[in-house]
Symmetry: C2
Subunit: 244 residues, 2 copies
DNA sequence: AAGTGGTCTAGACCACAGC
DNA sequence: CTGTGGTCTAGACCACTTC
């Protein structure tokens, strides 16, 4: 029993995208089981009334996502999966919300300051140039989870403290039309200083997770430099890496 | 002065790949500066004696890598970069070697054991089924850096302790014809227990970086489950995330 | 209006896997 | 040998951006 597939030529959605979505949905709901063959491209194209390149484009996007494998002389198979969908650029706010933790934010600072050497290097602005600095305490269930310090180029977007208490920074950036593309991160650990310990309600010397992140938009501009500190007892990062 | 580009039709290397490599090299050596336009696809195709789809395929691969941006009605531009090449699936051995640290490995255990529930779930084998467990201490300059515990399906590859002392696990897997595709990681921190402290030459309670990783090959099979512990005073992770 | 990338077609030949 | 995906061509029309 072949899979039920069809495309709508009157839709503004590209045909290859319609097809790849249907295939992805079929894989996700188990209609296409791991290891099963997809049927050859030419036959599939004929069945759908599409050209082979269009079908290939649909399949290729799923290969890139890691859902399908192609083998010359064999065919296209559903991956022997366990691999779930890649995680998005981790956003603490979204993570907490998804976990049903009802995140809250306390804005500790939201000012324009001169860039330090480190910030200037990360954001690609001149040292001493103006940048916006936002310091926030992120809480879940009233308990502090992390101390977040973000530095952004001025003029990139309006950041009102009120908005920052309502939602996450990445959502505000996306809403401002910024297309996030990638982020370079460094994750480490260290013992809490006295000030950090107090802020995060941990004993002095408690292990903290640290993260430095520079985020880039789709034009390669650095749009944010973050130095965050998380309570290791309450939070860990999860993410998926792709091998190139 | 247009860029010097050419393709060799007698080469077994695909034409689109030849082109994308030349463009990438030109970007990397600065012959194509950030923000500069690439020239439209049809003209480029004509100049190289290629068809437009072939040129598009070359350009698309660089767009996927984040080196180029396309804008309808505008053209294809070199990204306003700072974004360096994405990091490979981080391998401690390679990281250390690249940093000139001359890594060494001490194999503490290399045995076949029954899978715990956690391992069984990660590797997709039956609970209690046989798996290979490798415990290693990784050193740099004679100092311990990390304690690595890897569990693999039996029969995936031969793992001799001698080889494990010579090189990294991922290199051995690649050499055995396994194509690594992606990894799901969780990174956290905690205070060192007494046993860990002793093994890593840290004081008890010192902050440690922890990582759990399940690695998948290109067919989606889980090929490794790792639980590693790093001295936070000596090591931090760097990696690049792509936003989807 | 002109120029760009985005999508799509209907073919073609080749390289590799499996029988 | 047969069937599969991998590569490539020479067009076409559309949507969007800029002037």
């Amino acid at each position: 029993m072949p899979l039920q597939l069809s495309v709508d030529r009157n839709s503004p959605v590209p045909l290859y995208f319609q097809l790849s979505q249907q295939l992805e949905a079929a894989i996700e709901r188990g209609a296409l089981t791991p290891g099963s063959l997809l049927g050859n491209e030419i036959e599939l194209a004929g069945r759908l009334g599409l050209s082979r390149p269009t079908v290939r484009q649909a399949i290729q996007s799923l290969v890139d996502k890691g859902l399908l494998v192609r083998r010359r002389g064999v065919g296209t198979q559903v991956v022997h999966s366990q691999v779930k969908r890649p995680l998005e650029l981790s956003s603490l706010y979204d993570d907490l919300e998804a976990a049903g933790q009802r995140p809250a934010t306390r804005v500790l600072a939201n000012t324009v300051v001169p860039a330090t050497a480190e910030v200037a290097a990360a954001l690609g602005v001149g040292e001493g140039g103006e940048v916006r600095r936002v310091e926030r305490l992120r809480l879940a269930h009233g308990e502090p989870m992390a101390y977040l310090c973000n530095v952004l180029p001025v003029g990139l977007l309006d950041l009102e403290s009120g908005q920052l208490e309502e939602t996450g920074l990445y959502r505000l950036m996306r809403a401002a039309g910024i297309t996030l593309h990638s982020a370079r991160q460094a994750v480490g650990a260290r013992a809490a200083t006295r000030a950090e310990a107090e802020r995060l309600d941990e004993p002095e010397g408690a292990p903290l997770l640290t993260m430095e992140r520079t985020t880039f938009d789709d034009t390669g501009r650095a749009v944010e430099f973050a130095t965050n500190v998380y309570r290791a007892s309450r939070y860990s990062f999860e993410f998926q890496l792709l091998v190139r």
